[in-house]
């Protein structure tokens, strides 16, 4: 009781705790960490550059002022909309400062020096991102608004990149060199992640329904899928290369279908195997969640078992099944990266080439789009699940 009183009376009561943490981190980063890193060439260790060294005095002051105002809002203002606006203003000014710094540090026409974001930039970006995420959560926007917000953010970032604002930044230098391959690898990445998901849904859904109907099957099926899940991805890719290669060599039709020991086939098969567990398990759980009363009522209305499944059980279980699909999609987008090691292509090609050349910028060219893809997939599917969960499932109708 005394403790609670002390907290209530504390003068810090009106200071936002998250705001305090983020402001402190941002301030520390601005004071002690380099804003950008300058490299005399692609693989040399970077030399730190302070804000004041790379921006004109008014620019540095402007950035500091806007960030300070954002910190004030984060500390004292509770209105979520204002907090979001402040965070977004901070992000925009930060991005402008980075672009200006990259332009200032790159001699005209030079193609060898590299300017990369420094630690201060990343800390500030993360702090502002958390502030924005927190504000959005407090605003409790509906699913449609969330998707629109995401689309707007990606749209603005894309427009800035397309307009050449960041062309002097190290990651964009790597993009310029690989601009021909980038769209192909991006598309391949999406295709590998999505294709294996689709295959897993096509097989996993019936398997889940079967497991629900025949409880005896559940332990062996789920046990096997669990076991597969524990095999490290790179090992599974390796294990699959030999049998698929042998299959391609013996069965010409398989080879004609594109099934080979290296390339997309082992990647898709491995991802498909990993995808099965979340989908089968969530289908079983989702179907079990359907109340017996609803099933009994449907049967009382004279529905056949097939109608009960398609009109009552599956629609009611759909949000849980979709949650499984969401897990799989996000997991696949990350895991496809390793496909590059067995000739599967995708954005992982840039990651592993970059690691091989110790060119961090090239690693980022692969890694950043992967993160954006996974995040977008999560937001999209979350929104879809929420929409479906809210809509009351369609009342069962008898066939006309």
């Amino acid at each position: 009781m005394e403790l609670r009183l002390a907290i209530a009376l504390s003068p810090h009561e009106r200071i936002d705790r998250l705001g305090l943490l983020l402001s402190a981190a941002g301030l520390a980063a601005l004071v002690w960490l380099p804003f950008v890193v300058f490299k005399s060439n692609r693989i040399m260790p970077g030399e730190p550059r302070e804000l004041q060294q790379v921006l004109p005095a008014w620019g540095a002051l402007g950035l500091q002022t806007v960030l300070l105002l954002t910190a004030v809002v984060a500390l004292f203002i509770t209105d979520a909309r204002r907090r979001l606006s402040a965070a977004l203003a901070g992000v925009i000014v930060l991005a402008l400062a980075l672009a200006a710094a990259a332009n200032a540090l790159t001699p005209a026409g030079d193609k060898v020096v590299r300017v990369a974001p420094g630690a201060a930039f990343w800390v500030l970006l993360i702090a502002l991102g958390l502030l924005a995420t927190d504000a959005i959560t407090r605003m409790r926007p509906g699913p449609v608004v969330r998707v629109l917000l995401l689309a707007t953010c990606i749209g603005i970032a894309w427009a800035a990149l397309a307009a050449g604002m960041f062309d002097h930044l190290s990651v964009m230098r790597e993009y310029a060199v690989n601009s021909g391959r980038f769209p192909l690898e991006l598309w391949r990445h999406v295709w590998l992640a999505g294709g294996s998901l689709l295959a897993a849904v096509v097989l996993g859904l019936p398997l889940g329904i079967l497991c629900h109907r025949v409880p005896r099957l559940r332990p062996p099926v789920l046990g096997t899928l669990n076991l597969i899940q524990t095999i490290p991805a790179i090992a599974l890719f390796g294990i699959l290369m030999a049998p698929l290669g042998a299959l391609a060599a013996r069965v010409p039709a398989a080879s004609a279908l594109g099934i080979r020991g290296i390339g997309a086939a082992p990647a898709v098969v491995a991802l498909f195997l990993y995808s099965l567990l979340p989908i089968v398990a969530n289908t079983v759980v989702g179907l079990r969640r359907v109340s017996q009363a609803a099933v009994d009522a449907a049967m009382g209305m004279g529905m056949t078992p097939r109608q009960v499944l398609s009109r009552v059980e599956l629609p009611l279980a759909l949000p849980v099944i979709l949650t499984g699909i969401r897990v799989v999609l996000v997991q696949n987008i990350g895991m496809v990266t390793i496909a590059a090691l067995i000739g599967g292509g995708g954005l992982g090609t840039f990651v592993f080439q970059g690691i091989g050349q110790t060119a961090i910028d090239l690693v980022l060219l692969g890694a950043v789009p992967i993160v954006v893809l996974a995040f977008s997939a999560a937001v999209l599917l979350d929104a879809l699940i929420e929409v479906l969960d809210r809509t009351p499932s369609v009342a069962p109708q008898l066939d006309p």
Binding site: I43, L257, F352
Partner: protein, 303 residues
């Protein structure tokens, strides 16, 4: 029902078969490393310029993946390194690998007998592990060869070597020490767990923790740019890893001209030449394909 399914399957199969190239195109591949990819691109471009149909499957994986793909017939041609045959045939101890000519002949013979894989002309450059010292140190103490280095270190030279754990522990360093008569104390070593040569070169160039000697690969692009000087392995302690295009015999029989097309290309390389080309990919960040195209144009092999 089953009839529909069957005809659907046939339709899908036909569609895939039509989509995949049926003419016997040569599948040119490469490892992930920038040098392999660049050489792969050069060969692919040369073959295409000579009217041979090619498929680009470069940068597909590390050595075991590419090797397995070649043996399985999924790729037809890629650039291997002569010394690696010692690993493929479990015979790394044979002294032949330490000589370009003999290593090439031994590898070519073994690979042809076991797998019907033909080794084409090798380049006269070795991508073997080597030591490189800072140019200022090399000049001050007249270091040109590993023998010079051994004498310098044994005579109390102030050395700080930065290398990978693999280099320090798997016997490479021990072998160099034995051949050139020097011993490095652990206080003269900086061992990086997953050390890539780009990291060791960068550290030696910047003098991080006093490093003045770096583990490098012979044809590394970063050596000259970082003002390092490679030390000649004058007593041939290390296996030679000369780039050599390897091709499946059945494909070579179909396009016998490939051997003659690739020969002048491979003969045009020496260590400094490959270093310069690698530097453009590794240091300047140009794409391997762009460097390949420009090299072939300067040589007049590509219009």
């Amino acid at each position: 029902m089953s009839k529909i399914v069957r005809s659907l399957c046939v339709a899908v199969l036909l569609a895939f078969a039509a989509a995949s190239p049926l003419e016997a195109a040569v599948v040119v591949s490469s490892k992930l490393s920038s040098e392999s990819a660049m050489l792969g691109q050069m060969i692919r471009l040369l073959l295409r310029a000579q009217g041979i149909p090619v498929v680009d499957r470069t940068r597909i994986g590390a050595t075991p993946v590419v090797r397995q793909a070649l043996l399985a017939g999924e790729i037809d041609l890629y650039v291997e390194y002569t010394g690696n045959a010692g690993l493929f045939f479990n015979d790394a101890a044979d002294p032949a690998w330490k000589d370009l000519e003999r290593g090439y002949e031994l590898g070519a013979r073994l690979d042809y007998a076991a797998n019907r894989i033909v080794w084409l002309t090798p380049a006269s450059a070795s991508n073997a592990w080597a030591l490189a010292v800072r140019s200022d140190v090399a000049q001050a103490y007249q270091l040109r060869t590993m023998s010079d280095f051994g004498r310098w270190v044994a005579g109390g030279g102030h050395v700080m070597l930065i290398c990978s754990a693999e280099f320090a522990n798997a016997g490479t360093l021990r072998s160099l020490e034995r051949t050139y008569g020097f011993t490095l104390r652990s206080s003269q070593l900086i061992v990086l767990a997953g050390g890539e040569t780009a990291a060791t070169i960068g550290a030696a160039a910047a003098g991080t923790n006093g490093a003045n000697t770096a583990m490098v690969y012979g044809t590394d692009g970063g050596i000259a740019a970082a003002h390092l000087q490679i030390l000649e392995d004058d007593r041939h302690d290390q296996p030679v890893y000369a780039p050599v295009p390897v091709i499946r015999e059945s494909v070579l029989r179909q396009y016998p001209q490939i051997a003659a097309i690739v020969k002048p290309l491979m003969e045009s390389f020496d260590r400094e030449g490959l270093q310069r080309l690698n530097a453009r990919v590794q240091i300047d960040g140009e794409s391997d394909e762009a460097v390949a195209v420009e090299y072939l144009r300067t040589k007049g092999w590509l219009k």
